[in-house]
């Protein structure tokens, strides 16, 4: 779900680390048992001061479906690819875009042409030089083949190599969020044409990033080795191994035993114990994901804004968040988390059964049957649904919970077979990511059937306005209407939770869930 693809749902992907881990823990899997680390040519996890090579072992919740960054949509793939590929620009810890393969850029006065100066002397892992042609090839591949991330290029008319190290992106309309679009995640990676054409990119991707593919042991692990020629400086560790461990408790045991150095397969109920455990560092940061409820506005009585508001007043968000993630989340009434510059502090609703009841009375609804559609692949939705069901009973709404596997859930969403649904959107950076596709009347993911010309106009203006302050006003206004009319009923922003051995230095848990090991080192 980190990926936001235009044609299929961006929700599909790996979800938050935690939910992905939980999801996979349901499927019994051959990769559960981590093997003890062998003391062969490579160092065991805790050796470091010796002259042997250093391997950092990270446990991820599942196996990548494939490693072509333009095609995969699985979070597990991007955990690996984050360390293999580069984008022109990339988000720093605060999700502000910083130079990467592009050293600098400028925008023309009409805001329709962006010119990027590329870093010189960068080479791919196979030794070939990185040039403007690679950028043009990568972007055109995404656009021409309508690959997953192609919607990010909606306003791009052409990508041109001006010279070997200058690329021009031409636009049909001003696109202030272009940097977020091309750098937001590794789905926008610059790939090697030879690698794509040989077909090897699926299992042996060649990028310009800090680590290169060393070996791939299907259903078990992927080993990367340090790229000594990395433009950002060679990584401190020699090898980076990703092991696939589906069961969160297994991964935690492996971490405690020193078999692995890092994991993000952490059940919410273990977070508290971990935070006080010696020898283990816990990284917990607010993410830019959000979880929400959406009504089917093509059905009565959910088409009545008063009924939707009544639901908003009848819910105790704190209780839902506590139940779903045991508090490892932040309650929010809009989509964008408080940590973002784009956040709004608009929060009109509070638990107020009297207001809820009078809204129901006003709407003339005594009681209602509601089918709440959730997915067993995202266990927090099933847990939250039970709390929601109990809370809505207070205002005469009788909730029946339908628990589906995620692909059936997606069908149900597409066909409108629900009264209300719960799900999350993950890996959002620009405010456009948070609101446009979900609430614009022509939005690709507006499954609830919301339509308000005023919101459409605000979201359109937000897309094409360059001045960040003016943009923020548009999005704040749009968010206010969306919240007031309950197009989505926002619940919370979950935390990213990762744990690693104290011997690992220089690793930081990031809100966008990018797993970057290039600055990590291992000490005794």
């Amino acid at each position: 779900m980190r990926t936001k693809n235009g044609n299929t749902l961006k929700k599909t992907i790996g979800a938050t680390a935690v939910s992905a881990a939980l999801l996979l823990s349901l499927a019994a899997c051959a990769t559960d048992e981590p093997e003890p680390v062998e003391n062969g040519d490579d160092a065991s996890p805790s050796t470091s001061t010796e002259t042997e090579s250093q391997t950092l072992i990270a446990a991820i919740g599942g196996e990548p479906d494939q490693l072509d960054p333009h095609i995969t949509s699985a979070y597990f793939s991007f955990q690996v690819l984050e360390n293999v590929y580069d984008t022109l620009v990339e988000p720093d810890e605060n999700l502000a875009m910083q130079p990467a393969l592009a050293e600098s850029w400028e925008v023309s006065d009409d805001l329709l042409t962006w010119t990027f100066d590329l870093r010189e002397g960068v080479t791919f892992h196979d030794g070939s030089d990185f040039t403007a042609d690679d950028v043009v090839y990568s972007y055109k591949r995404i656009i021409d083949e309508a690959l997953n991330p192609s919607w990010r290029f909606a306003s791009v008319t052409d990508v041109v190599a001006v010279d070997d190290f200058t690329v021009e992106i031409q636009l049909s309309s001003p696109t202030p969020n272009l940097l977020a679009a091309i750098g937001g995640y590794k789905g926008m990676s610059i790939v090697s044409q030879a690698n794509v054409e040989s077909g090897e990119i699926v299992s042996n991707p060649i990028g310009t990033g800090p680590f290169k593919m060393e070996s791939y042991d299907v259903a078990d692990s992927i080993v990367l080795s340090a790229n000594e020629d990395y433009w950002g400086g060679a990584p401190a560790i020699d090898e980076l191994e990703f092991r696939f461990i589906a069961e969160g408790s297994t991964a935690l045991t492996a971490l405690r035993n020193g078999e692995i150095h890092w994991t993000d397969s952490i059940p919410p109920q273990s977070v508290e114990d971990l935070s006080s455990e010696s020898g283990i560092s816990l990284g917990q940061v607010g993410s830019s994901d959000y979880w929400y409820l959406a009504f089917n506005m093509n059905r009565t009585p959910w088409d009545d804004v008063r009924v939707r508001q009544a639901v908003a007043y009848a819910l105790d968000r704190e209780a839902i968040t506590t139940a779903a993630l045991l508090g490892n989340a932040t309650v929010n009434q809009t989509a964008i988390p408080a940590s973002s510059d784009w956040s709004s502090d608009y929060a009109p609703y509070s638990l107020d059964l009297e207001t809820a009841q009078s809204l129901m009375d006003e709407a003339g609804v005594d009681s209602a049957e509601m089918e709440l559609m959730v997915s067993s692949d995202y266990p927090e939705t099933v847990t939250a649904a039970q709390v929601i069901s109990a809370q809505l009973a207070e205002i005469g709404i009788n909730v029946s919970i339908t628990t589906l596997d995620f692909s059936t859930w997606l069908d149900g969403q597409a066909n409108g077979d629900f009264d209300m649904l719960m799900m999350g959107w993950l890996g959002n950076i620009d405010p456009d990511d948070f609101y446009y596709a979900q609430h614009h009347s022509t939005g690709g993911f507006n499954a609830q059937g919301y339509s308000n010309p005023e919101v459409d106009e605000l979201l359109d203006s937000g897309r094409t306005t360059a001045d960040p302050e003016a943009r923020k006003v548009f999005y704040d206004d749009a968010a206010k209407i969306i919240v007031d009319e309950v197009s989505y009923l926002y619940l919370y922003n979950p935390d990213v939770v990762q744990a690693w051995s104290d011997s690992v230095q220089g690793y930081v848990a990031r809100g966008d869930q990018a797993i970057r090991f290039r600055d990590a080192s291992i000490s005794e």
Binding site: A323, S376, V382, A390, Q391, T402, T403
Partner: protein, 277 residues
């Protein structure tokens, strides 16, 4: 027969336990300290205490109340599914045993095919096709037990059909239906009764297994298996979530099994125990 069961301690124990479970299943709503779905998140994962004898679960629900009300659902599922199996299995077995010939061959080959699947695997396949839920789980468990009853009924019927009184009934022109209902069925009832008792135990286990896999009862309906499923993620934090419903399943299944054993001894029959796997 009843006397004989009461004369043995295991028999008394099983009857007492089952009487309690049935009482709980019927009057559960009246005796639970709390609503089974009464959520109090502030009170989550509390260990057993005077307010909550069995502790609370991850949503602050009372584990005791949920365990009690699970009895209703679990007993319903096992009674309905075993009745289904008893009816259709016996019908198929008796027809095969009475008429013999090609009908016997046909029915028994079908039964053999069904029998070749492990019980739970077949139930899983049925639920996978029909969609999860308590209704389909009941149906699935019923279907997988049909072959067992069919075999038990047939093997008894085959020998009873050779008895002089059955032959006599046929000779004087009694219709097959009359022969079967008045002469055959009463004389093959004993093994079926024993089989029913044992199957009830395994139906409860299978319902728990299906619910544990998320394919039986859907939240928030409490069943023992569903409670164990929910408890799985909290074994480190809240042992009581798993121990109490688990112990109840254990006791119930044990009681049905002991009753079955005692019935078998009292009625002097041999039983096909393949399903115990």
């Amino acid at each position: 027969m009843i006397k004989k069961i009461f004369s043995r301690p295991t028999g008394v124990f099983s009857l007492l336990v089952l009487a309690t479970i049935f009482f709980i299943a019927v009057f559960g709503q009246l005796i639970t300290p709390q609503g089974p779905n009464e959520i109090n998140v502030a009170n989550m994962l509390q260990p057993p205490s005077p307010e909550h004898f069995f502790g609370t679960d991850e949503l602050g629900r009372d584990v005791l109340s949920r365990t009690i009300l699970s009895a209703q659902v679990s007993m319903q599922v096992s009674l309905i599914s075993v009745s289904f199996a008893l009816f259709f299995g016996t019908a198929a077995g008796v027809m095969a045993g009475y008429f013999g010939g090609w009908l016997d061959n046909l029915l028994m080959r079908i039964v053999d095919v069904l029998f070749a699947f492990p019980v739970l695997l077949l139930a899983l396949a049925i639920v996978a096709i029909l969609g999860p839920g308590i209704g389909t789980a009941t149906f699935a468990i019923g279907v997988v037990y049909v072959p067992i009853f069919a075999r038990v009924a047939r093997s008894s019927a085959v020998s009873v059909v050779q008895e002089p009184y059955v032959k006599a009934a046929k000779t004087v022109g009694a219709s097959p239906l009359r022969t079967i209902t008045t002469h055959l069925l009463p004389n093959i009832a004993a093994p079926l009764i024993v089989q029913t008792s044992i199957s009830l135990a395994f139906a409860i286990l299978n319902e728990a297994a299906l619910s544990f896999l998320g394919l039986g009862a859907q939240p928030p309906t409490p069943t023992w298996g569903r409670m164990l499923f929910d408890a799985k993620g909290f074994l480190d934090q809240a042992w009581w979530m798993a121990v109490f419903p688990g112990a109840t399943v254990f006791l119930t299944v044990l009681a049905f099994n002991l009753l079955g054993d005692n019935l078998r001894d009292a009625l002097d029959v041999t039983v096909d125990r393949k399903e115990s796997k």
